[in-house]
C-alpha cells in the first residue's frame, strides 16, 4: 500500500506529507482530516473547517461578497483573483462570521491557504477587523484559525498596515475583557504571525505546524546555515 504505483485512482487516495503513508480519502474525511497513521493534520479549506467546528446550521457568514481592489495597479492582479475565486469558490482568503460551538455563540475568522497562500491584503484585514469589532460590540468570544504566508505583496504597504488595523481591534477586544483564542494551522508566518495570530489569550496549534516570522528558506539564505530538524514547528 505504501508504494505510490500509477494504478491508484486519482482522487480516491491521498498521501500524508508527514509520514508518507498513502491513505484512503474517505477514511481521512471520517477522521476529521487527520492522518490515521501518524496524526498529522491535513490542510483544510475554510468551508470544511467551519463545518467541522461550528454546530450545524448556526453559522452566519459576514461580508462574503467583499472583493479586493488593485490599489498598486499590480499587473494581472485582478485576473489572478478572478481565477482564484473560480477555483476555490471563495471571494477572499478568509471566511468570517458568527456561530455556535457546542452551544456557545462565538465569532470566527477562518483563513484559507488555497487563496493566495492565505495572504493578508486589505479585504482579509477588513473582514477580520469587522469580525473582531462585532465580537467586541456583542461581548462575544473570538476564535481565529490562522494559515498565512504573511502580508499580501500585491497590495504593498496597505497590506502591511492591516497588521496595525487588526491589532488595534484585538486590543479593544482584550480591553473589554473578552476571550480570544487563536488556532495556528500550517503554515502561520510573516505579517499574520507578527500580528493577530500571536495576540490570543490562548494560542493553540495543530501538530507539526510551521509557526514563524521568517520562513526557513529565508533564514537559511540569510545566515547560510542549515536549520535544526523540526525548527519552527509548533513542538519546537
Amino acid at each position: 500500500m505504501i508504494n505510490s504505483t500509477p494504478d491508484i485512482p486519482v482522487g480516491k487516495w491521498i498521501k500524508c506529507d508527514f509520514c508518507g503513508e498513502i491513505l484512503y480519502k474517505d477514511h481521512i474525511r471520517q477522521n476529521l482530516n487527520v492522518c490515521t497513521n501518524c496524526g498529522n493534520h491535513f490542510r483544510l479549506s475554510a468551508r470544511r473547517r467551519i463545518n467541522q467546528i461550528v454546530d450545524e446550521n448556526t453559522f452566519e457568514e459576514f461580508d462574503a461578497d467583499m472583493l479586493s481592489e488593485n490599489s498598486l495597479d499590480y499587473p494581472d492582479y485582478e485576473t489572478k483573483l478572478e481565477q482564484l475565486r473560480e477555483k476555490t469558490g471563495m471571494n477572499e482568503a478568509v471566511k468570517t462570521g458568527v456561530g455556535e460551538i457546542e452551544g456557545i455563540r462565538t465569532v470566527l475568522a477562518v483563513m484559507d491557504g488555497n487563496f493566495l497562500m492565505g495572504s493578508m491584503g486589505t479585504v482579509v484585514g477588513e473582514k477580520i477587523t469587522r469580525a473582531i469589532e462585532y465580537a467586541t460590540e456583542n461581548k462575544l468570544p473570538l476564535c481565529i484559525f490562522t494559515v498565512s504566508g504573511g502580508a499580501r505583496m500585491q497590495e504593498g504597504i496597505l497590506s502591511l498596515m492591516q497588521m496595525a488595523k487588526t491589532s488595534a481591534a484585538i486590543a479593544r477586544h482584550h480591553e473589554a475583557g473578552l476571550l480570544y483564542i487563536t488556532i495556528l494551522t500550517d503554515p502561520t508566518t510573516g505579517g499574520v504571525s507578527a500580528s493577530f495570530a500571536m495576540q490570543g489569550d490562548i494560542i493553540l496549534s495543530e501538530p507539526n505546524c510551521l509557526v514563524c516570522f521568517a520562513g526557513p528558506r529565508v533564514i537559511e539564505q540569510t545566515i547560510k546555515q542549515t536549520l535544526p530538524e523540526g525548527f519552527q514547528r509548533a513542538e519546537f
Binding site: 497588521m163 491589532s167 500580528s195 535544526p228
Partner: protein, 266 residues
C-alpha cells in the same frame, strides 16, 4: 515634486552616509540618556532608546540604529532587530506611558532580523505585541521614517498618532529584493519592484497613511544633517503641541481611526 524614481530613493535611503537615529538624536535633543536591555535576554544594539529633552520637555526616544561603516554595522546588525530589541522598545514605551511622556520613534530598518535565535525567542510575538500595545498606549506617539521602513520590523516601533517620512525615505511591505524574490523568484529585479511597489513618501501621503513629508536639502539628508534635524524638530514640536491638547481617550480613539480607515470598505 522630485524627479527621482522610487529606486533612486531606495538608494538614497540606504546610503551609508545617511544620518542615523543617534545622529538625529544628538542634533534634536539635549541630554539624551540611553537605556539598555529588555530585562529578560539582553541588549539589542539594533534598536536604541532612552530619555531626552526636546527643548524643555521630557520625551522618550526610540529608533532603529544602523551603522555608518562595516564594523559599526556588524555591531548594530545592520539595523535589523532581534526580539529583545522590540521588547526593550516596549518597556521604554510603557515607562513613557506611566509618566505620560510623548514617545518619538525613528524608523530605519531593512526589516526584523531573520535568524535562528530571533525565531527561537519569538520575533513574531515580540512584533505582534508591540503593534498591539502601541495602538492603545495612553500617551502621544510620533513616528518619523528617516531611511528604510521595511516590513513588520518597521511597524514594530512605527505605530503612532502622527507618522511622517523624510522626503527620500521609503516605507514598504518588504524590501524590494524580498518582494521580487517572492513574486518573481528573482531578487535581481529589485529595481523594477521598487518602482511599482508605491513606497515613496508621496505614495504613502496619497494613501493617507502618513501625515506629512519632511523635506530634505538638495541631494539628500546626508548633505546637511543639521538642517534636516532642524526640520524634524519643528515637526515634532508642532505635533506634540497638538497631541498634548487631547485627552487620553481622544488620542486612543483617533489613533484607532487612523488605522481603521486604511483599506476600509463601506
Amino acid at each position: 515634486m522630485s524627479e527621482l524614481t522610487a529606486w533612486d530613493k531606495v538608494c538614497l535611503a540606504r546610503l551609508s552616509a545617511r544620518p542615523t537615529t543617534l545622529e538625529y538624536i544628538e542634533c534634536i535633543f539635549s541630554s539624551f540618556i540611553e537605556l539598555h536591555g529588555d530585562r529578560a535576554f539582553g541588549d539589542d544594539k539594533a534598536i536604541v532608546g532612552g530619555l531626552a529633552l526636546l527643548d524643555d520637555m521630557p520625551v522618550t526616544v526610540i529608533g532603529n540604529q544602523k551603522g555608518r561603516n562595516t564594523k559599526e554595522n556588524i555591531e548594530r546588525n545592520f539595523g535589523m532587530a532581534n526580539p529583545e530589541g522590540y521588547r526593550k522598545a516596549l518597556r521604554l514605551m510603557k515607562e513613557a506611558e506611566k509618566f505620560h511622556r510623548p514617545i518619538i520613534t525613528f524608523v530605519d530598518t531593512p526589516g526584523a532580523f531573520c535568524g535562528i535565535g530571533a525565531e527561537e525567542r519569538g520575533e513574531a510575538e515580540s512584533i505582534a505585541k508591540n503593534i498591539m500595545e502601541m495602538t492603545n498606549l495612553k500617551t502621544p506617539i510620533i513616528s518619523i521614517v528617516i531611511g528604510e521602513g521595511s516590513s513588520g520590523g518597521a511597524l514594530g516601533i512605527g505605530v503612532g498618532d502622527r507618522i511622517y517620512m523624510l522626503e527620500n525615505s521609503i516605507y514598504s511591505v518588504l524590501s524590494p529584493e524580498g518582494f521580487a524574490t517572492i513574486l518573481w523568484k528573482d531578487s535581481a529585479r529589485a529595481q523594477e519592484a521598487a518602482n511599482m511597489m508605491k513606497i515613496t513618501a508621496e505614495d504613502l501621503y496619497k494613501f493617507e497613511i502618513i501625515d506629512g513629508i519632511i523635506p530634505e536639502v538638495n541631494g539628500g539628508a546626508h548633505n546637511s544633517k543639521e538642517e534636516t534635524a532642524q526640520k524634524i524638530k519643528e515637526v515634532l514640536l508642532k505635533s506634540i503641541q497638538e497631541l498634548n491638547k487631547k485627552s487620553v481617550k481622544e488620542l486612543q480613539d483617533e489613533r484607532y481611526e487612523k488605522y481603521r480607515k486604511i483599506g476600509r470598505r463601506m
